[in-house]
């Protein structure tokens, strides 16, 4: 039995140590937003934050997550509440989520959990990224580009910029 911290809670897991974190999150912990896209770290649909850095959970053994904090989009509102002073109103979404809704980003949405994770990672390190920095984050910063088959890249750029302004204003 291992214990990992997911979205602020300590969770016991019984999966074998070599099990990719994705299957542990989805099948054992009922956290359904990170998706299986390729199992090869080539698309980003399974991305989660591990101590604030994006990892591809489809190839990441759960053993390596012990002692670290995993954040999925289920945990983004709480993450924002912890980071933001004064605390936002109860039930408030993370600015990235607000922006994703306001800009109507997802189409099929299967990749968007990973896209929001990447946006959160980016905006936590660069409050006001340029267009090139946004493109760089989603294309070359990780193990592979974050792929969207529906072609929502333009909407994602719009939403990252919008989220940046929300975070600067301390709204959401």
């Amino acid at each position: 039995m291992q214990t990992i911290k997911v979205n602020g809670r300590m969770r016991e897991v019984s999966s074998s140590l070599d099990t990719p974190l994705l299957y542990v999150l989805r099948d054992e912990l009922d956290i359904g937003s990170p998706q299986f896209g390729c199992g090869l770290a080539q698309c980003g649909a399974c991305s989660v934050l591990l101590d604030g850095k994006e990892i591809r959970s489809c190839i990441y053994p759960v053993s390596l997550a012990v002692g670290k904090e995993v954040t999925t989009i289920e945990g983004l509102p709480d993450r924002w509440a912890m980071q933001h002073k004064p605390a936002p109103s109860k039930g408030a979404l993370h600015p990235v989520q607000e922006a994703w809704i306001e800009q109507q980003v997802p189409q099929c949405g299967f990749c968007q959990s990973g896209m929001m994770i990447k946006a959160t990672e980016l905006l936590e390190s660069k409050a006001n990224p340029t267009l090139d920095e946004i493109k760089e984050a989603f294309t070359t910063s990780g193990p592979s580009p974050h792929l969207c088959r529906c072609g929502t890249y333009i909407a994602i750029v719009d939403a990252v910029r919008y989220a940046s302004t929300l975070m600067a204003k301390g709204e959401a």
Binding site: R26, C43, L93, G109, R149, C150, G151, T152
Partner: protein, 825 residues
């Protein structure tokens, strides 16, 4: 087949009350009495996810009767509205946005009062049909259902208020007249009312049922909700992590399966590998025919065990495919184009062959488009729960749940009422499941039946690349003759494409179980090998025109010992993409031959007012700088980066599309970068500007991906693309400066379409921009650097391959003697 079915709904309070039936525009409104409580436009049933098959007594086993409007729309006593559609959502959001807006306008209720959308599940929706063409060229089923319902409500109000129907008006769910008013909710409260509406079609066909008759529809000028931007409620649930994805469906006792698919697209099983139970103690092997799978209680064990079993499983060899490098040679020289009748364009006129021959300047060229994968970001997945009584519920993500249900019943040799298909959000797959299956559904059912437990089958990335269908390869031969003053005297185009719609369930085929027929010459519409003219002709000033479409069997379909081969399936803008690219690229090449600007050249050959207005607007919005293209700007020995612009146009589903692209080409490498792209879209009525804009952007980015990157690689045995490195798609770094202009033209009356067509326009605009920049025509996509470089180096060698002549009856695809063979660049 006109159905006027009747069904009693609700509990009759006074059993002997005479039924009163009146006519509502061909529909029949019946009042049978009163119910004890609640509203009688509500059918009592539960809507819980994961429900089981409901015995209904209807011949097709459907719980919802499409001839009853309450199967489509429920008016609740609190004046809220629920509606149902057989369509599912594949990310365009239409069923949550445009459909609600259309219903709201036709019913005269607010957008917000439509509180519930029930979609696609076979046991909770009435209509069936594939999720495509959702606006149905202006009149989706749901619009008529709403129109019938409003008329019935008006009739009821007339009786209730004692005011003639003509003197009533409806605003926001309330009927006013004669100084009195009554809400819709009050009209239906405690009543047992039934409106029977006419429908035709077949529930489990690709098109499903269609509401017929002509209830009065609201003219565009009176629409208040259509035309405004409303947000998609489904986006919110996905972003908030509230969505129940198909990937999240879990049933008690469910097992995880992974497939061990055959070694080639023509293999039989020789021997299945044994599970190493020391490593995988809980794994079971299942073999049925050539179908091999491993099943385990956990996903990770199933994944690992499947790899172990796959490495020990033996298959017969098969090498019957031409391979990517030889595919166009194979198409022209090996395929039997006599097998299907030649289809002719509707606007064909004149003797194009003679006119082209006599023309002082002519373009004779061949254009080619490769196989593409639908390439969903998540691979195929389904959960099946087969019960001892022979019923099965399948949880999946399909564009056509009723068609899948029909196919599964056929595979099982059972009746429709035994099968329920439930749909959930999942990875979009752009046409792959419009005939029912996307892959994995049949395998889940086979395994669940075999094991007597719920089974979840998820394909791995390589399964999805190698065992799904693909968009078919195609080529077209074009001949254009110009007059001395540079106008088109004759235009002749012959399109060649193998069968495009193989809806057989692959697991059933592999297991040797019944499924629908493979495409053949005996097939009718959707299982035929015929090709049809799909690209509506736009340039009506051209005096002589011939368009022909030639079809044949899928590559490898007949030679594969298991009759599989390369299975094709419609994908966004199916068929029309394959025909529009050659047409539009040839238009740009003809303009160059005439020394004309390609946008002006199109205008010079247009008569249609909407097309002319669209092209003029495109010119303005894209900042198009007119220049004649008589001399190539880049020398063959050039270096550095050259820029060019290109244009394309299309008419699809009543929507006019125009696209202008600006590109940079690096001459030393052949790398193409799209710098700017402008889309102008005239769908007639723009139902929801914000959603349409996002749809166009998305479609256009997919189109950019197809234009620059996508081609399915295959060898003699099967598809060799197996992941995102061997089938690359567009990344964010490549997005250009992008502009969408929507032309809202309510006077047209038509509601056009969204993301289809957007994906198809870019390729020809980009290819013609590269031509403009370099002087080398690009007659094939994808415009990968190696192809572009080859074309630059070859300096028009492709142009020299004169295509053979064709006629209405022949299959003369082979070059006439003396003419050089078509290249396979």
């Amino acid at each position: 087949m006109e159905q006027l079915l009747e069904a009693m709904t609700g509990d009759v309070f006074k059993a002997k009350l005479e039924a009163v039936t009146t006519d509502v525009y061909g529909a029949r409104l019946t009042r049978r009495g009163f119910v004890k409580a609640g509203g009688t436009l509500i059918v009592g049933f539960s809507m819980l996810r994961g429900g089981v098959a409901r015995a209904t007594g209807r011949p097709d086993g459907n719980a919802f009767d499409a001839s009853l409007p309450q199967s489509w729309i429920e008016i609740h006593p609190d004046n809220t509205v629920l509606y149902r559609t057989g369509k599912s959502d594949f990310g365009q959001g239409t069923i949550y946005t445009a459909y609600r807006q259309i219903i709201a306008d036709e019913l005269d209720v607010t957008f917000e009062s439509i509180t519930t959308v029930v979609s696609a599940d076979t046991d909770t929706t009435p209509e069936g049909g594939g999720t495509f063409g959702l606006l149905g060229e202006g009149t989706p089923n749901i619009r008529k259902a709403a129109a019938y319902t409003r008329q019935a409500l008006l009739q009821l109000a007339s009786q209730r208020l004692g005011v003639p129907k003509e003197q009533l008006k409806t605003i926001d769910g309330v009927v006013y007249g004669g100084g009195k008013q009554v809400s819709y909710g009050d009209l239906v409260k405690d009543q047992n009312l039934q409106l029977t509406i006419p429908v035709d079609g077949q529930l489990t066909s690709i098109f499903g049922l269609r509401i017929t008759g002509d209830p009065p529809l609201k003219p565009a000028s009176e629409m208040k909700i259509v035309g405004k931007s409303y947000k998609n409620s489904n986006i919110s649930s996905k972003v908030r992590a509230d969505e129940l994805w198909v990937t999240n469906v879990k049933l008690r006792g469910m097992l995880h399966a992974r497939m061990v698919h055959p070694g080639t697209l023509g293999s039989h099983l020789v021997e299945a590998g044994k599970v190493d139970n020391t490593k995988f103690p809980n794994t079971r092997l299942v073999v049925k025919g050539d179908l091999v799978a491993v099943v385990a209680p956990t996903e990770w064990e199933a994944v690992q065990a499947s790899q172990q079993v796959a490495s020990a499983t033996k298959w017969t060899e098969w090498k019957g495919l031409p391979g990517t490098d030889k595919v166009y040679d194979h198409l022209r020289n090996e395929c039997d184009w006599k097998a299907a009748p030649v289809a002719k364009g509707r606007k064909n006129k004149g003797d194009t062959a003679a006119v082209v021959l006599a023309s002082p300047r002519k373009l004779e060229a061949t254009y080619r488009l490769p196989y593409w994968k639908h390439a969903p970001i998540g691979p195929a997945l389904a959960v099946a729960d087969y019960k001892a009584d022979g019923s099965v519920t399948v949880h999946t993500h399909t564009q056509n749940a009723q068609a899948l249900r029909g196919q599964l019943a056929k595979m099982l040799g059972t009746t429709l009422d035994k099968v329920v298909v439930k749909t959930y959000s999942g990875a979009g797959h752009y046409g792959r499941s419009n005939g029912g299956n996307a892959g994995a559904e049949d395998e889940a059912v086979i395994l669940s039946k075999e094991l007597g437990k719920p089974v979840r089958v998820q394909w791995m990335r390589n399964d999805d690349m190698q065992w799904s269908t693909q968009s078919p390869v195609a080529f077209s031969d074009v001949r254009i003759g110009l007059t001395a003053d540079g106008k088109i005297a004759a235009y002749e185009i012959d399109h060649f494409m193998p069968a495009m719609q193989d809806d057989r369930m692959i697991g059933a085929v592999i297991a040797g179980l019944p499924t629908m027929d493979a495409p053949s010459e005996k097939g009718r519409m959707l299982d035929s090998i015929s090709n049809g003219p799909s690209d509506q002709w736009l340039y009506d000033a051209v005096p002589n025109l011939v368009e022909r479409a030639h079809g044949t069997y899928q590559i490898g379909q007949k030679s594969s010992p298991v009759k599989i081969g390369l299975r094709d399936h419609s994908m966004r803008t199916p068929g029309q993409f394959q025909q529009n690219f050659p047409r539009e690229m040839a238009m740009s090449e003809a303009a160059a031959l005439a020394g004309a600007d390609p946008l002006q050249f199109r205008l010079d050959h247009a008569k249609d007012e909407r097309l002319i207005a669209l092209l003029k607007r495109l010119k303005e919005e894209s900042g198009w700088e007119v220049h004649s293209h008589s001399a190539p700007k880049a020398a063959s020995t050039g270096s550095g980066v050259v820029r060019g612009h290109g244009v394309s146009a299309m008419l699809r589903s009543g929507t006019y599309w125009g696209c202008a692209c600006e590109v940079s080409v690096t001459l030393s490498t052949g790398a193409v970068k799209v710098d700017k792209s402008t889309f102008v879209v005239d769908p007639g009525i723009v139902v929801n500007p914000e959603q349409l804009k996002r749809q166009v952007e998305g479609g256009a980015m997919m189109g950019l991906s197809i234009a620059l990157h996508e081609e399915v690689s295959f060898n003699e045995s099967g598809v060799t693309a197996r992941d995102w490195y061997s089938y690359p798609i567009l990344t964010m770094a490549e997005i250009p400066e992008f502009k969408v202009v929507l032309l809202h033209r309510p006077e047209v009356g038509n509601m056009g379409q969204g993301s289809e067509a957007a994906n198809a326009l870019g390729a020809s605009a980009i290819a013609s921009a590269v031509f403009d920049a370099t002087g080398s025509p690009m007659r094939q996509i994808p415009l990968r650097p190696e192809y572009v470089k080859k074309m630059l180096d070859a300096r028009n060698s492709d142009t020299n391959a004169i295509p053979p002549h064709h006629d209405d009856s022949s299959d003369q695809t082979k070059p006439k003697s003396g003419a050089p063979a078509a290249s396979t660049l």
